[in-house]
Amino acid sequence: MAELTYLQAISDGLRTEMRRDKRVFVIGEDVGVYGGAFKVTLGFQEEFGHWRVMDAPLAETAIVGACTGAAIMGMRPVAEMQFADFISCAWDHLVTVAAKQRYRAGTPVPITVRLPSGGGFSGGPFHSQNPESSFAHIPGLKCVCPATPEDAKGLLISAIQDPNPVLYFEHKHLYRRIKGEVPEERYTVPIGKARTHREGDDLSVITWGAMVYTATEAAEQLESDGVSVEILDLRSVMPWDKAAVLESVRKTSKALVLHEDTRTGGFGAEIAATIAEEAFEELDAPVKRIAAPDTPVPFSPPLEKAFIPQVDDVVAGLRELAEY
């Protein structure tokens, strides 16, 4: 097994599928000659040719529209949004057409949309968002949010082979900061299955994406207080692993739902509500949420730090729960 960065693991997964399946092609802004804004597809055009690694105009509507049409004709397109934020331009194609085509006409739409998301580098309001809850709300779409290199590769392969439109949220902050062992062969990570990132007995943190690492640092601090924190990395927010969440909460009886997206209507609300509905009798404290405030993502580094949940915020939240 090789040690790869999160970004290399994404490239590896994409390359693996393109070598295996000729129906798989890539389309996006600057994905060809330039190798993508973050260099995920660097060298792809040389290997697969410009018909399978296509540079698109600055038009997300056109990219997702082309993918949807190609998918209906039997291809397996992988679209890259240069930043997840711009997916709003493609809303209509995704939500009105791709998500409902199977329901209306019985035609599968096996597209994958790669969404470089998340903040932490002063990208400001247009280049830092985590819009997964908007799409998790749309029946017919799947949303995955890998946190580790191994899951990044395995989930991307699952997304490409899945017959439904899958939104693949790759966290920009993890691209080069996170490294991990990644199997060289092809493998899949099931969509809809959570992963216990850290075992614990006293508190459960349910989170995904970059927040997995924030939670881990916080959990380590609580370890010295004698509080044992379990971290569940959801990996997929739609479908999400309700059973795993409920199992963990039944064990610890205290739950913190943590995400980088804004609080109101964030996907954490769904999880918190489900815990309250289905594990009420197992709770020893109110379900707690930690998320970004309901504002656009600020440019200013100190403000952005105040916006995105930090380790200290999570430590405080966990302590509060532990002491309850």
């Binding site: 009886s253 197992e282 020893d284 309850y324």
Partner: protein
């Protein structure tokens, strides 16, 4: 105004085995005029719920037993007429009606003392009292999981030292408390008693866990309490007693009801139009059972001491559901062997209807020699009912279901036909009735039903 002598109203003897009754409702109030035989109150016993008619005319001068109370047969319940009759008003002041419940009593006591003790019972005074009931700040909140664990282990959370915010008992606290083996407030009765072998010498008998019935503690979250009616208590006692008395065994037989079904179809219109009754399958079974029982006196019999009692008559009991399946009564059709099919239909319809409207006479729920129960209307196809003591057997009739049935065609070849089939069960007291006898009885009963002889019944 009647100037007659006072008439006592007493708890009536509602049949031989009834020793007490509960007053469910007074239909007349103190001071009201009541006529002889006019319904005066409603009572509930373990056999029947019924109205008690007034034993005479006059003013209801005194009510001595309030609604909800259970008293022995012969207890004086009220007085009609007499000295108090003329002046209804003063009686109330002299003897305020006893509060029906203890809670009401406490309340009225409290109200009384408050009125006497202080001129203006201020809210200030009440507040500290309320505060006293809440032990410590924050400790009163019991989280869902703590409540659940507490109820599962029969632990009172207020006995546990809390380490949570404001002294709240956390899940860990209560689990530690249980693990440390602290004496729980009461042993959870639901926990299956572990039959741990006790190899020690019997010199010091270990306290038996199962012995005391669970005290009616406060409702746990999610639970509600409702009082058991006199009827429910009666059923509970009788069912338990029956299982402790008889050796219950059940045999079942399948009956092809084609012929009965055809005759039923033919009679239906006539029965309904001319007599207002329905020739149900149950009526056919009842008629055939009464007939068959004449040939099986032991199944229609009873063990009394060392003697076996047999009879020259059949008194058929019919289990009738009441209150949406939450109550049961077994009225009896006396001398059922003398009734033809129409007579049986009329008799069963009559008692079932009166059972539902609480118009049964006490003697009509007694003296049964054999019982039929009929849960077939709900589609059940088998059951093991409990014998109505001191009888020897109970017949269960179940849903008539169309089933593939092997019959012989005119050439004597086996063919599969669609037939309406009913299962019958006989649950019998094996102390008196053996399996072979029960089998013969069921065989003969089936014979009668499958080859229904219109002229004979």
């Amino acid at each position: 105004m009647a100037t007659t002598e006072a008439i006592d109203v007493v708890m009536p003897q509602m049949g031989v085995s009834v020793s007490e009754g509960t007053i469910t409702k007074w239909l007349k109030q103190q001071g009201e005029q009541v006529e002889a035989d006019e319904p005066l109150l409603e009572i509930s016993t373990d056999k029947v719920d019924t109205e008690v008619p007034s034993p005479g005319s006059g003013v209801l001068s005194q009510i001595l037993v309030e609604e909800g109370q259970t008293v022995e047969v012969g207890t004086k319940l009220a007085v009609i007429g007499g000295d108090g009759a003329g002046a209804a008003a003063p009686t109330e002041e002299e003897a305020p009606p006893e509060p029906a419940t203890q809670a009401a009593a406490d309340e009225s006591m409290a109200a009384a003392s408050e009125g006497v003790g202080d001129v203006a019972p201020s809210t200030q005074e009440q507040q500290p009292q309320q505060a006293q009931q809440q032990p410590q700040n924050g400790k009163t909140f019991v989280s869902p999981v703590v409540a659940k664990i507490a109820s599962e282990h029969g632990v009172d959370p207020s006995q546990v030292q809390g380490t949570g915010r404001g002294g709240r008992v956390t899940k860990k606290d209560i689990l530690n408390f249980i693990e440390s083996g602290a004496q729980p407030a009461q042993v959870a009765p639901a926990a299956p008693a572990q039959p741990e072998a006790q190899p020690q010498a019997p010199a010091a008998p270990a306290p038996k866990a199962a012995a005391p019935p669970p005290a009616p503690s406060a409702a746990q979250p999610g639970e509600t309490f409702e009082p058991m009616t006199a009827m429910r208590k009666g059923i509970a006692e009788h069912m338990r007693c029956s299982l402790d008395t008889s050796a219950h065994v059940t045999s079942a037989i399948e009956v092809d009801m084609s012929r009965v079904s055809a005759i039923r179809g033919k009679l239906k219109k006539e029965y309904q139009q001319s007599y207002g009754v329905n020739p149900t399958y149950l009526i056919f079974v009842a008629r055939a059972a009464a007939e068959t029982l004449r040939e099986y006196p032991w199944i229609n019999g009873e063990i009394r001491g060392d003697q076996i009692v047999t009879r020259s008559y059949v008194n058929l009991g019919f289990a009738v559901e009441l209150q949406d399946g939450k109550g049961l009564i077994v009225p009896v059709v006396k001398n059922a062997e003398t009734l033809n099919l129409l007579g049986m239909a009329k008799a069963v319809t009559d008692i079932a209807q009166r059972a539902r409207y609480k118009k049964l006479l006490p003697d009509e729920v007694q003296g049964g020699t054999f019982t039929i129960m009929n849960p077939g209307g709900y589609g059940t196809f088998h059951g093991t009912p409990v014998i109505s003591q001191p009888q020897a057997a109970i017949l269960g009739t179940y849903a008539v279901v169309k089933r593939p049935w092997v019959v012989q065609d005119e050439l004597g070849e086996d063919v599969i036909a669609i037939r309406p089939v009913m299962n019958l069960t006989l649950t019998y007291d094996h102390r008196l009735v053996d399996g072979a006898l029960a089998g013969r009885f069921l065989r003969d009963l089936r014979e009668k039903l499958e080859n229904w002889d219109e002229s004979a019944y």
